[in-house]
């Protein structure tokens, strides 16, 4: 099992060489090195995963290096491989390898390619450290490591102010979650005297019902620990309240959005809850909170997704919403379903993002869907892979015959939520169904606006640039998605004479491979993930009873996701194909509702008002009034004033002070020595 060492440390090595070598080793060697390392990792990961699917592999731990030993608090570097890790290994290395390849085409004109590829590989390393962690602290290492990589990649075009702001926001908001995670680790160590995950999980049931003091309150031990850790998960997985960084993270290059902000990093929170499932299972309250947060996010993000114009932002909110599904699945105890959705979502969401990247590439960096339209014929391959992604995310399928990936995983989640029988499970089910309707609507809205209808390219500034041959220098990429003023010229057909071009093969090939995943991942793996306790081998808490009850739900429950999916499709078709004036009329009628959704429920404004501005204001007050106005005024300056009043001869403070200081010291020593001698 030492192949895991190559899987994990290969990308790190590639990242170091490409990053430090940077321009010295050149674009192509850096790209070959990092992409090669990832394809190697990927090739080594699939056999591990398949051996778990086949039931022949056993969980193992490869020790690497001692890390910290402080009293009884010890933790080491080690790589753990079990079923849960194996799933994450294939998801991470496959998507990462494909994104590396895709970036050859997408980042082709960028002057800073070695740095980009080094960051991508560095991210992959950190993510792999996270999922192979055998103790909570190494998980935290990976956790913050992916945060760093995410920060660097969001801010990759660092000349652009919005990218820098988004990068800082992502890091700081994640740190809020990390604070919870860290407190959770401290509490876990306090209670269990270990940070080893297997030992904690083994001891967790014994702690059920115990109480602990926390912030002056007396609370249920496991509830406190689980919720603290869950705050970490909320930050990383952009759940309601700590989600504000994810849409802004779209400032990063599109391949980054696909890899980090869709397929892998943002699912770390779900992974953590599943990894610690026996622990969460000991606290009903924690499970309820997880369910509510997940269900609320799933609904709220979907509502915002219906109003956005930026193609990447629609997909970003969609990601946020899908993560909500995974959390409430975990919350009702269907960890297998949560991981299954994580698995299928990785493929179709990465596909949708990379497909969107291909559209953006074709449209000369225009991201606003208002300036798309009729691209079906222009970029047919991109169209078809986006179609596969849309069919997968909306969950198209026929029961018992075949379905696209999301059909299996989303239905499993909704059925599990209903079957759980709890009040919060029921609520999650209804919110999940409503969100499925919204998902179908915004997904088809995206498709119709982009690929159907008339061309509306003429008003796009980016297209204008392209047509009029304003050849921007390469740096300009940074400021691309900034401004969309309405320049009114161009051809009558709305194309302004622009001809979108299909992406190169290095970009299309990863899209095709991912669409295979989006089409078949559900059909092929549903049995292992949902129905086979032997597959999991205790890597997650497997609820036999719930898995059974899932199959017993009423027919209307089983049918409802399909019905709402069709309803969403119909509404989108009616609004954007049959009667394109309808959305504007709707917006005019419900202006406030639309503004509320379009402005993302005003979370950014609220947080600015509550946290950001007060922090700066308080900092200024404490500095000017506190340090200078009070402490200095009555401290040293006051003393100086008193001294100056007292002695008119002290003109030369600068030499006087040193002598007086030395004198005091000397006198003190003389006193000390004479004291000792006299005694």
């Amino acid at each position: 099992m030492s192949s895991i060492l190559i899987i994990v440390f290969g990308p790190l090595l590639a990242a170091i060489i490409a990053g430090l070598g940077n321009r010295a080793i050149g674009n192509v060697p850096a790209k070959i090195l990092t992409t090669g390392a990832l394809f190697l990792s990927c090739a080594l990961s699939w056999p591990i995963f398949l051996s778990f699917v086949a039931g022949t592999a056993e969980a193992s731990v490869v020790p690497v290096l001692k890390w910290v030993q402080s009293g009884t608090l010890t933790f080491d570097w080690a790589l753990r491989v079990d079923t849960l890790t194996a799933i994450m290994l294939v998801v991470i290395t496959s998507v990462s390898a494909l994104v590396h390849l895709y970036s050859w085409g997408y980042m082709d004109e960028d002057p800073d390619q070695p740095r980009f590829f080094a960051y991508l590989s560095l991210f992959t390393f950190a993510m792999l450290m996270l999922v192979t962690a055998d103790n909570l602290v190494q998980m935290f290492f990976g956790w913050e490591g992916v945060g760093l990589a995410s920060y660097l990649l969001i801010g990759f075009w660092f000349k652009k102010p919005s990218a820098c702001a988004a990068a800082i926001k992502a890091f700081v908001v994640n740190r809020v979650g990390d604070l919870g995670f860290m407190l959770g680790i401290f509490g876990t160590y306090l209670v269990f005297q270990t940070t080893s995950i297997p030992e904690i999980l083994a001891a967790a049931p014994g702690m059920a019902g115990s109480t602990i003091g926390f912030l002056g309150m007396r609370l249920d031990t496991m509830t406190v620990l689980c919720l603290l850790l869950f705050i970490g998960a909320m930050g990383k997985s952009a759940q309601l309240g700590l989600h504000t960084w994810l849409p802004d993270a779209m400032e990063g290059p599109t391949p980054v959005s696909a890899l980090i902000h869709a397929a892998t990093m943002v699912t770390a929170g779900v992974f953590m809850v599943c990894r610690l499932s026996p622990m969460f299972q000991t606290s009903d309250t924690a499970m309820m909170v997880v369910t509510y947060v997940g269900a609320a996010t799933c609904f709220f993000a979907a509502t915002i997704g219906t109003t956005q114009w930026d193609i990447k932002r629609v997909i970003a909110y969609s990601t946020c919403s899908q993560l909500g599904y995974m959390f409430f699945a975990a919350g009702v105890g269907a960890y297998g379903a949560a991981m299954f959705h994580l698995f299928t979502h990785a493929f179709f969401k990465a596909l949708l993002f990379l497909g969107a990247g291909s559209v953006i590439h074709a449209m000369h960096h225009e991201q606003d869907m208002r300036y798309y339209g009729a691209l079906r014929k222009q970029i047919p391959l991109t169209f078809w892979v986006m179609m596969a992604g849309t069919l997968a995310i909306t969950g198209v399928g026929v029961m018992g015959v075949f379905g696209f990936a999301g059909f299996y995983s989303k239905d499993a989640i909704l059925e599990a939520a209903f079957a759980s029988g709890s009040e919060h499970g029921q609520l999650a089910f209804f919110l999940g169904v409503v969100a499925a309707l919204l998902t179908s609507f915004y997904s088809w809205r995206l498709m119709f606006l982009t690929f159907w209808g008339q061309p509306r390219w003429a008003d796009s500034e980016h297209i204008q640039h392209a047509v009029h041959g304003h050849h921007e220098d390469l740096d300009e990429e940074a400021s691309h998605s900034e401004h969309n003023s309405h320049a009114h010229h161009g051809g009558d057909d709305g194309t302004a004479g622009y001809h979108p071009h299909e992406s190169p093969w290095v970009m299309l090939l990863p899209l095709l491979i991912l669409s295979v995943g989006a089409v078949f991942a559900g059909y092929v793996f549903i049995h292992a993930f949902i129905e086979d306790a032997g597959f999991w081998k205790g890597a997650i808490f497997y609820n036999e009873h719930l898995m059974h009850a899932m199959h017993e739900v009423p027919l209307w429950v089983k049918l409802s996701p399909g019905v709402v999916m069709l309803a969403g499709l119909l509404i989108a078709w009616n609004s954007y194909i049959r009667n394109p004036k309808l959305p504007a009329a709707f917006v005019a009628q419900f202006r406030q509702l639309h503004a509320f959704l379009y402005n993302k429920w005003y979370f950014d404004e609220l947080y600015n008002f509550l946290f950001v501005r007060p922090a700066f204001w308080l900092g200024r007050v404490l500095w000017k009034q506190g340090d200078i106005g009070i402490i200095d005024r009555f401290g040293p300056n006051g003393a100086a004033w008193a001294v100056a009043q007292g002695s008119r001869y002290a003109q030369k403070v600068q030499s006087g002070y040193l002598y007086s200081y030395a004198l005091v010291m000397l006198l003190g020593l003389v006193a000390a020595v004479s004291w000792v001698m006299v005694r």
Partner: protein, 514 residues
């Protein structure tokens, strides 16, 4: 190495070299200073290599009685060893940092630095109370000179402030020392560390020492000398001030206040906690609005020292070891950050953040190092900053979850002010033509930053090298403190057939993080 007075030699080498520096010309003085600090660094490595982990508590002991019980007594334990290593590691870097930027009175400058090295090692190696006092107080004289002569425009005010703060503390500490020697009948520090002072007296003695150490640390609200001193000091002065001089306060707590007055330490732990919590939040917020790079990093130092003090007064192994690692880590990281500021200051002669911008474009190597040290400063796992902060906070959590939760907000605020700084200096467009024209780091600067980067990563990935020598000493201190250790607020109670927590309560931990 028995018999060879290595500690005395380490004190003597820079002292002699410093005296010679006074009389030779600038070029020779530089070379000599570098050679002397490197020799001391090598001696430090020898010291480390020969330190017997798990052996006697005090090693390399030298004792020459001078008069009246006052003696030349040196000796180190693991804690002192690590701080000496930190000092001798940073000194050659300081000399390197001053290589081109100091042009006037070079001989005297080098002499001041070398004298300071002698005195710093002396502080950590002294085993006689009065000897410690001499080193402790005299060590600041070269610092005054460095700020006062080679400092910025407002250097007089800065040194004056420094003086006023320090004076009060040291007078009180000296009086306390006199009383202690009279009571215990010895000036021997190891003996005093095991001496049980009457609890009533401990209170006053603790406060007297606290007055001195709190200023050195510095703790809120006696911190205002630090930003001014840093801003006015030349780069190397800032490096050594942040790197080593601030550690003397923490060393004082761990060597004197805790082992000598355990009861009083427990009694005043609340005071330390309150001041530290205020320091973490207050100075972090102040750091957020600074326009001067050095001031920003100076304020961040105060916040980090808050984590040290809560760790020290957690009365357990993790807290003590964590505090020590934060001190070592901060010595490296803050030193490195001041060096980073110095590097661009040498080129543009301003510390104003807004005068820079987009340095990643013309100084990519510099930007990489700056990023690494920024991340180390905000405690990214894998760097030294994380190990210290994590252990320290894990230690205090066992005493009070409230203190931990408040102090840990430093990780959020720290990320905010450091990334905001980095964004304005290294990211963004090249707003200023002169900043855009600055050349990337040269070989000298590269060597200095690389050695610091190496140390930061080593301590982050394999801190065992640094923890192992201290383990036994921390355990001994922990054992001595055990009788006064406070009870934690967690008080885990095993459940009977009790119901899981009520719904109303779950809002609390969640709300706390928003």
């Amino acid at each position: 190495m028995t018999g060879f007075p290595i500690l005395s030699v380490m004190l003597l080498v820079p002292l002699v070299a410093g005296l010679i520096c006074l009389v030779v010309e600038a070029k020779t003085a530089r070379a000599l200073a570098l050679a002397a600090t490197l020799v001391d660094f090598i001696l430090g490595i020898v010291l480390w290599a020969n330190f017997d982990i798990g052996g006697a508590q005090w090693q390399f002991v030298e004792k020459v009685p001078l008069f009246a019980g006052f003696s030349w007594a040196l000796g180190i334990d693991g804690i002192a060893l690590m701080l000496i290593i930190l000092s001798v590691f940073l000194m050659p870097i300081c000399i390197g940092a001053s290589w081109n930027s100091i042009t006037k009175r070079v001989g005297e400058y080098m002499a001041a630095f070398l004298l300071m090295e002698t005195l710093m090692i002396g502080v950590f190696a002294a085993q006689d109370l009065y000897l410690f006092y001499i080193f402790f107080e005299a060590g600041l004289i070269p610092m005054y000179l460095i700020i006062g002569i080679w400092g910025g425009d407002n250097r007089i005010y800065a040194s004056y402030k420094f003086f006023l703060y320090t004076l009060l503390g040291s007078v009180l500490m000296l009086i306390a020392m006199l009383w202690m020697v009279n009571e215990a009948g010895t000036t021997d520090i190891p003996t005093l560390m095991a001496y049980d002072f009457p609890p009533g007296a401990q209170t006053w003695l603790w406060l007297a020492f606290f007055a001195s150490f709190a200023v050195k640390m510095p703790m809120w609200p006696v911190h205002t000398w630090l930003p001014d001193a840093h801003v006015q000091a030349p780069t190397a002065g800032s490096v050594i001030l942040a790197g080593v001089l601030l550690k003397m306060g923490g060393y004082g707590f761990i060597r004197f206040s805790l082992p000598m007055f355990p009861e009083a330490s427990a009694q005043f732990a609340w005071l330390i906690f309150v001041l530290s919590m205020v320091a973490v939040i207050y100075t972090s917020l102040v750091a957020l609005v600074q326009a001067d790079m050095k001031k920003l990093i100076a304020y961040s130092s105060i916040a980090h020292m808050g984590i040290v003090t809560v760790g020290l007064f957690a009365f357990n192994t993790q807290g003590l070891e964590g505090a020590m690692i934060v001190m070592l880590s901060h010595g490296l990281v803050a030193g490195a950050l001041f060096l980073c500021v110095g590097i661009i200051y040498d080129r543009l002669h301003t510390r104003e953040i807004d005068r820079y911008g987009g340095l990643s474009i013309n100084m990519p190597k510099y930007a990489l190092f700056f990023m690494l040290f920024t991340m180390a400063s905000i405690g990214l796992p894998g760097t030294s900053g994380f190990v210290g902060e994590f252990l320290s906070l894990a230690g205090i959590y066992q005493v009070s979850s409230l203190v931990t939760a408040v102090s840990a907000t430093g990780i959020i605020l720290g990320a905010a002010y450091m990334l905001y700084l980095y964004r304005r200096v290294a990211f963004g467009d090249q707003r200023n033509a002169d900043a855009a024209a600055m050349p990337d780091i040269d070989l000298r600067e590269w060597a200095m930053l690389l050695s610091l980067a190496f140390a930061v990563l080593w301590m982050g990935i394999y801190p065992e090298s640094f923890l192992a020598p201290m383990r036994k000493d921390v355990a001994a201190l922990d054992a001595r403190l055990a009788r006064a250790a406070p009870e934690g607020d967690a008080q885990l109670k095993m459940g009977s057939a009790q119901k899981p927590a009520q719904h109303a309560e779950i809002a609390a931990p969640e709300g706390g993080a928003h």
